[in-house]
């Protein structure tokens, strides 16, 4: 339901892409010629001069962006698959050799990989769940507050804008014994960052702090879709605040919620900066990104590192696929008509 509809929604309002759209000029205008001839285009393949120049312009305008994106991601990901099939250690470059799937066997039977994978999944699930609840609360506050809306929105944007590494250092010092106010307050006499469970909790906290505002902003866009009349009507029918939230707001916001969840899940899965600064992956707190980086940059083992890169890429693709298929997450852009 998402991919198919994307181009129609992206289309200019005045130019129906197929016969089912409302004919006639739309009030928004649109490129006049495209709109009038759009319906007959599929019947007759001839293009008017205007359409042809429109296409030429469009391709010219899109080409640079498309070329850069493909050159920097498309070709390297193929190259990465090729590297993952090699024995290629930069410390022993002479030993480079095609080894088939041997790297995959090595990674997939390694306990390091599965520990990191489990840690990554745990952080992803827990942090996204907390963010959804906190983000919804923050979105409601930002949307409905009657005093100091500007102040609230501005401060909520601070975690979004701040450099992740900076925030991570702030958390690290806060939880360092003696130096930090939080360590002294909650765990006097111990070092929370040197124990797996408490370190993971702090990593999750740092992640939640930094990204809740982003989640809240996405949810706020969904909140704006909830008609006030509907809420008033529900309230007149005797629905309490909680019922109004569950029965009226959440159903209307569902597409926004799913998009926010999808974005944040994929983003949380690639967690790197926070862990790098907080624990460097010590005490079994590595995420898959940290592990891949360790193999690539510190051990200079391009074969194994690339194998992990490919596996991470496949995991992300799988998560996205599951979201789209299972929950019917609409891709961003496909819910535009709900808005107008």
């Amino acid at each position: 339901m998402s991919g198919e509809r994307l181009s129609e929604d992206q289309a200019a309002p005045g130019s129906p892409a197929d016969g089912t759209a409302e004919p006639g000029p739309s009030p928004a205008g649109g490129s006049g010629r495209g709109g009038r001839t759009g319906g007959t285009r599929s019947g007759r393949r001839t293009l008017t001069e205007g359409q042809r120049s429109e296409r030429r312009l469009a391709l010219l305008l899109c080409a640079p962006a498309a070329l850069v994106m493909i050159a920097v991601t498309g070709w390297p990901i193929i190259y990465s698959v090729w590297l993952s099939l090699q024995r290629y250690d930069l410390r022993f470059p002479a030993d480079q050799e095609f080894v088939g799937l041997a790297n995959y066997v090595e990674v997939l039977t390694s306990s390091y990989w599965w520990t990191s994978f489990g840690v990554t999944l745990l952080i992803t699930v827990v942090s996204v769940a907390i963010e959804l609840v906190l983000g919804m609360a923050l979105a409601l506050i930002m949307h409905r507050t009657i005093v100091g809306r500007g102040l609230v929105r501005t401060s909520a944007l601070v975690p979004y804008g701040i450099v992740t590494v900076v925030a991570a250092f702030s958390w690290r010092y806060a939880w360092t014994p003696d130096t930090g106010y939080l360590a002294n307050l909650f765990a006097p006499g111990s070092a929370p960052l040197t124990d797996q469970a408490s370190a993971l909790a702090i990593i999750t906290l740092a992640e939640v702090w930094k990204t809740t505002p982003f989640m809240a902003l996405l949810l706020m866009a969904g909140l704006a879709l909830v008609p006030d009349d509907l809420l008033k009507a529900a309230s007149m029918d005797g629905a309490g605040p909680w019922q109004r939230f569950i029965k009226v707001m959440v159903p209307v916001m569902k597409p926004a919620i799913l998009v926010a969840l999808l974005f944040r899940t994929l983003d949380a899965f690639r967690i790197f900066d926070n862990i790098y600064v907080l624990t460097s992956g010590a005490q079994d707190t590595s995420s898959v990104s940290i592990l891949a980086n360790t193999n690539l940059i510190q051990a200079l083992n391009l074969g194994i590192g690339s194998t992990m890169s490919v596996l991470i890429f496949l995991s992300v693709a799988l998560i996205a696929f599951v979201f789209v298929k299972l929950f019917g997450t609409a891709a961003p852009g496909s819910d535009t008509e709900g808005r107008r």
Binding site: T154, R270, S289
Partner: protein, 281 residues
């Protein structure tokens, strides 16, 4: 009755004020903490007090006198500005076509940029590391600018095409009637109208580039192109007996201030850009 209503709104206002205070505290405490650390003297650095007992500017003086930090700051500013400029220009062109023109392959372009927005960046590190070493781009400004452009283009395209759909396009039609080509209509009529959206996008893209750590860590190896977040994580202090906490905190504050100022001034635009780009675009 009126009096009753009055106390009711006062109670509501109080409740909202409490909630708002909670949000402000949540958002600002970690920032204030790192600021506090940056003003502490070496003797009081480890006292765990939230507010410094003795204030000093020594940490700032020391990082601003090292080339290590100044060079990284220059790299960060230069790389982020250039990447932002290029990404916004390319994104504006593509978003205009997506929002306004009919052409084959539009769906593909939107799909590809969506894919890239969700791409795990670590997957690009090994091939880019190898390719950039071969091409001589490793540890150079262009070597970082290229991936930054790539990963900010989806953000730029979504945000901009959402803004572009709000523009009154009758003006473009009028310009065309007056004999302007589509290209002229774009440059002379639409571009000025689109400026606020473009500006918002530029802020978002700049924040993205400014924030990056993974590429800067893996695609650089010397001061030549290392950006501040990475330089920060490598700070060791002047001697092995000196704790780098103060320097790191001061450097952290220096790179945080511009972002906070931008957020203060452009809060409304940033909120509009993020919400329209992510859900509507």
């Amino acid at each position: 009755m009126a009096a009753f209503g009055g106390t009711d709104t006062r109670a509501r206002k109080l409740r909202w004020s409490l909630l708002n205070t909670l949000v402000v505290v949540y958002a600002l405490v970690p920032v204030l903490w790192i600021m506090s650390l940056s003003f502490k003297t070496p003797a009081t650095l480890n006292d765990g007090n939230f507010i410094p007992r003795e204030w000093t500017l020594e940490n700032y003086r020391s990082i601003l006198s090292t080339t290590e930090f100044l060079r990284a700051l220059l790299n960060s500013i230069g790389i982020a500005l250039i990447a932002t400029a290029i990404a916004v220009v390319l994104g504006t062109m593509a978003a205009y076509a997506i929002a306004r023109l009919q052409f084959p392959g539009k769906r593909l372009l939107v799909g590809v940029s969506l894919l890239i927005a969700m791409f795990p960046q670590i997957s690009l590190v090994s091939p880019l590391f190898e390719i950039e070493r071969t091409l001589g781009l490793f540890d150079t400004w262009p070597g970082l600018i290229l991936p930054y452009i790539t990963f900010s283009l989806p953000l730029a395209i979504y945000t901009l095409s959402a803004f572009f759909r709000e523009i009154p396009w009758e003006l473009e039609k009028a310009a065309k009637m007056d004999g302007a080509t589509p290209g002229q209509a774009f440059l002379k009529v639409i571009a000025p109208l689109a400026a606020p959206g473009v500006f918002t996008t530029a802020i978002l893209v700049f924040i993205f580039c400014w924030n990056d750590f993974l590429f800067a860590l893996t695609l650089t190896s010397t001061e030549r192109s290392r950006t501040v977040p990475v330089a920060l994580s490598f700070f060791t202090g002047d001697s092995q007996f000196q704790d780098p906490t103060g320097s790191i905190s001061a450097a952290a504050v220096v790179i945080t201030v511009p972002i906070i100022v931008a957020v203060l001034f452009f809060q409304r635009r940033i909120v509009a850009g993020l919400t329209s780009g992510a859900v509507k675009g």
